[in-house]
């Protein structure tokens, strides 16, 4: 052991000889292996893809409210284009927005800083993961412009529709879509290795497992969950790609294949995937709430264990997506039990967060508003999931807009509200300037209020029987009433309003970056290690001889032995 300690010390000094010499000039931003630069790359790519995914939503919601309209900025929407729009909207938002922003961007940025390290353990693999990710995004975008158009078989890509070109009529688009998703998987597998090993091994001296901020834990647990669940789908995707390109018959019933095999492989991943994105959002939320209530997290270990329990349980619920798919009806009963069971640890997580507010001294800054909105809105998503997990009710709700509204009440808080929470909270650290609070609040209300006006009408439409992925409800007399069209219009107008308010956000970003107040090291008076260094941190995060040591947990707010209501982790007792 002592040999290792000496060797480590020696290496630390040796490693720092050229520690300060990252790539210079503009090349710095392309070839850099600095985790903060890579994080920014993921962040900006994710934001760019969010704009594209949001544009797609704008187009198809215009078509739904005003069927046949020539949508400004797009033109008339054909049935095939409609399917491609909804397919790629979903695919982009999950794989090219939620995951890169919540996990890759904030994970990369925060994990080394929060554990007092100077970078990730494998910086070049980190850079490679972004490069593969970027390629995956380009492949996905290219799939929209090839002959035949973009893939339109939904993000779930069920064969035989997705496997046979004659059925989907988008031969090239289908394969490019699939390859893009597969490349994204590879990028995140590579990234995950860095997150997990860095968190496990590269902690500052004195930092025990329970001294790690919850957001860092959550991102790592999510990475593990992703790695363990995506394997079968990668196998399934290889089989699908072969069906598409080599005319194999893995999913062809006429040749002994089984379309439902794909469904199992897909959802075995698909369900854990939602927790892959949920856990980081919860981590972000609880860290922000702790800072702005000036409170220790009520049940750090409870949160950690229930997060792991949720992750484990998430492997046993997948077929609730397949209740009416043709699986053995007896299996449905098993999955109803497991699915309702998983609501228990999730409820636990939410209760702990709410309990953290008790006894606090709550400041409603912009990041805090976002974190609180995450809770309030996600609750709606969570409880509406119960209707779908109960197989008897799902017979009716499956493939209706009720499902769609449910998952937007989970995904939107996760991907959008969670991202804005993280962004507004760590902006001062990343860019060295404070964001404008007034503009921030205008943007907040202008996003959250319209959000509800988009999706509550969709709940109502779903309860009325409106099914999904239909470009024009005029073909269905029972769904073409004036009442229903009113609801579709309300949802669309609300979306337009929400889009308008996003310009406030972009304006705020640029204005703050250019002329915002200097942030200093720790504008929020938070405890965690990232706030002990410059804003933005230099290459290497701290000067070589000032790497932090840790003396306590991350949430020692309002400690009775202290005058100050916060106690940074690196301050000696």
């Amino acid at each position: 052991m002592s040999d290792t300690a000496v060797a480590v010390q020696h290496d630390e000094h040796a490693a720092h000889d050229d520690h300060h010499h990252g790539p210079q000039g503009l090349l710095k931003y392309i070839w850099s292996t600095d985790h903060k630069v890579i994080a920014m790359q993921y962040l900006f790519t994710g934001i760019f893809m969010a704009v594209i995914g949001g544009f797609m939503a704008y187009v198809f919601r215009m078509q739904l409210a005003f069927p046949g309209i020539s949508v400004p900025g797009f033109g008339q929407v054909s049935p095939g284009e409609y399917n491609a729009l909804v397919t790629n909207h979903g695919t982009i938002m999950i794989f090219w927005v939620a995951m890169p922003v919540l996990i890759a961007a904030f994970g990369n940025y925060l994990i080394p800083l929060m554990i007092g390290a100077d970078d990730m353990v494998f910086p070049r693999i980190n850079r490679l993961s972004y490069q593969i990710f970027l390629i995956s995004a380009l492949v996905l975008l290219s799939s929209l412009f090839v002959q035949g158009g973009g893939f339109g078989g939904a993000w779930t890509a069920y064969p035989p529709l997705s496997s046979v070109a004659e059925y989907n009529q988008t031969q090239l688009g289908s394969s490019l879509w699939l390859i893009a998703v597969a490349l994204e998987f590879v990028a995140f597998l590579l990234g995950g290795i860095n997150f997990i090993t860095t968190l496990m091994n590269s902690r500052a001296p004195g930092m025990r497992a329970y001294d790690i901020p919850l957001v860092a834990w959550m991102i790592v647990i999510a990475s593990i969950l992703f790695m363990l669940s995506v394997g079968p789908l990668i196998a399934g995707a290889v089989m699908l790609l072969f069906d598409q390109t080599l005319n194999t018959g893995f999913y062809d019933p006429a040749r002994g294949g089984d379309p439902i095999l794909w469904q199992h492989l897909f959802w075995f991943f698909g369900h854990p995937e939602v927790y892959v994105v949920l856990l980081p959002a919860i981590g972000i939320t609880i860290d922000i709430i702790a800072t702005f209530s000036r409170k220790k997290v009520f049940g750090y270990k409870m949160m950690l264990y229930t997060a792991v329990a949720t992750g484990v349980l998430s492997f046993f619920v997948w077929a609730h997506h397949q209740f009416v798919a043709g699986i053995d009806p007896r299996m449905a009963n098993v999955f109803t039990v497991t699915t309702l069971l998983i609501s228990v640890p999730i409820a636990e997580l939410l209760f702990v967060i709410i309990a953290t507010l008790y006894g606090g001294s709550i400041r409603l800054t912009t990041p805090m508003l976002w974190a609180l909105a995450f809770m309030a809105e996600f609750l709606i998503g969570g409880v509406t999931g119960i209707f779908l997990g109960a197989s008897g009710a799902d017979i009716y709700f499956h493939d209706t807009y009720f499902v769609l509204a449910h998952f937007h009440y989970t995904f939107f808080p996760i991907a959008i509200i969670g991202s804005f929470a993280a962004f507004t909270y760590w902006f001062p650290k990343m860019f060295g300037k404070m964001m404008d609070e007034r503009l921030g609040k205008i943007h907040f209300w202008g996003t959250v209020i319209p959000f509800n006006f988009i999706f509550i009408p969709l709940f109502v439409l779903g309860m009325g029987g409106q099914h999904r992925r239909i470009y024009n409800y005029q073909h269905f007399p029972d769904l073409a009433s004036a009442e229903m069209y009113n609801l579709r219009e309300i949802a669309t107008y609300a979306l337009l309003a929400m889009i308008a308010f996003q310009f406030v956000f972009f304006f705020n970003c640029i204005k703050s970056w250019m002329s915002g107040k200097a942030a200093g090291k720790n504008p929020w008076q938070s405890n965690t290690l990232e706030w002990t260094t410059e804003s933005p941190p230099p290459h290497g995060n701290w000067p070589v001889d000032e790497m932090p040591n840790v003396y306590r947990g991350p949430y020692e707010y309002a400690h009775p032995d202290r005058e100050e209501d916060y106690w940074p982790q690196n301050e000696p007792s």
Binding site: P259, A347, S361, S391, I395, R468, A558
Partner: protein
């Protein structure tokens, strides 16, 4: 709310299950949201007042987590039991059939094969229709659901029934209509460019009307 009638013998059961879930989760939802907003208001930052240092072991706060935890579990058990009961009725326990029809989905239409005058499927007098299903009210129908190409899904909102049609399989389900009239049949699984036009109609007729329709359309082999 949008008016959607209960058109089958099990529609009411499904609606009641939905109502039960609504009441139980509704209670929790409002309780949690109320608690949440109340705490934000009560513990808003006040000049000179410090926050409390709570480690998570304090019983007076912890009980607000452990008790709800337990009650949530009990609610879940309730919902699971009722859900399984409804599910078994709709999907597992088929009543004896008064009549059987074959439903075939394809890109992009529904073909319905009705038994003809002999009330037997796959005989010479069967009635084939496209995008219109004719049945008699208050009768137990079995359907054999198939697909010619991709995965489709047979959905009749007023019945509350939904069942995916998987190529290579013939899946059996049932319904018993309790109202008369014409209503939507949907395809509830994206099946390609024409998914949005895969609309059909179910015509639920009384005994006389239905008998007349069968007689008019059935081509019997006996002269």
């Amino acid at each position: 709310m949008i008016d959607i009638i209960q058109g089958s013998t099990y529609a009411g059961d499904i609606d009641n299950l939905i109502l039960l879930i609504g009441l139980l989760v509704g209670f929790w939802f409002f309780a949690a949201e109320f608690m949440f907003f109340w705490l934000i208001w009560k513990f808003r930052a006040k000049e000179g007042q410090k926050s409390q240092y709570l480690t998570g072991k304090e019983a007076h706060v912890k009980k607000w987590i452990t008790w709800p935890h337990g009650i949530v579990l009990v609610c879940d058990v309730f919902i699971v039991v009722f859900s399984i009961m409804v599910w078994m009725d709709v999907k597992q326990q088929l009543p004896v059939a008064d009549s059987t029809i074959r439903i075939t989905g394809q890109q992009w239409a529904w073909t319905f094969q009705h038994p003809g005058l002999d009330n037997e499927l796959d005989t010479a007098d069967d009635i084939f229709t496209v995008d219109e299903l004719h049945i008699e009210v208050d009768k137990n129908y079995h359907f054999k659901l198939e697909s010619r190409d991709v995965v489709h899904s047979f959905s009749v909102p007023i019945f509350r029934i939904k069942q995916d049609a998987v190529p290579g399989r013939s899946i059996t389900g049932w319904f018993n209509a309790t109202v008369m009239g014409e209503y939507d049949i949907q395809c509830a699984e994206i099946c390609g460019i024409g998914h949005g036009v895969m609309a059909a109609r179910i015509s639920i007729e009384d005994a006389n009307q239905h008998a007349a329709w069968v007689a008019a359309n059935s081509v019997s082999t006996t002269p």
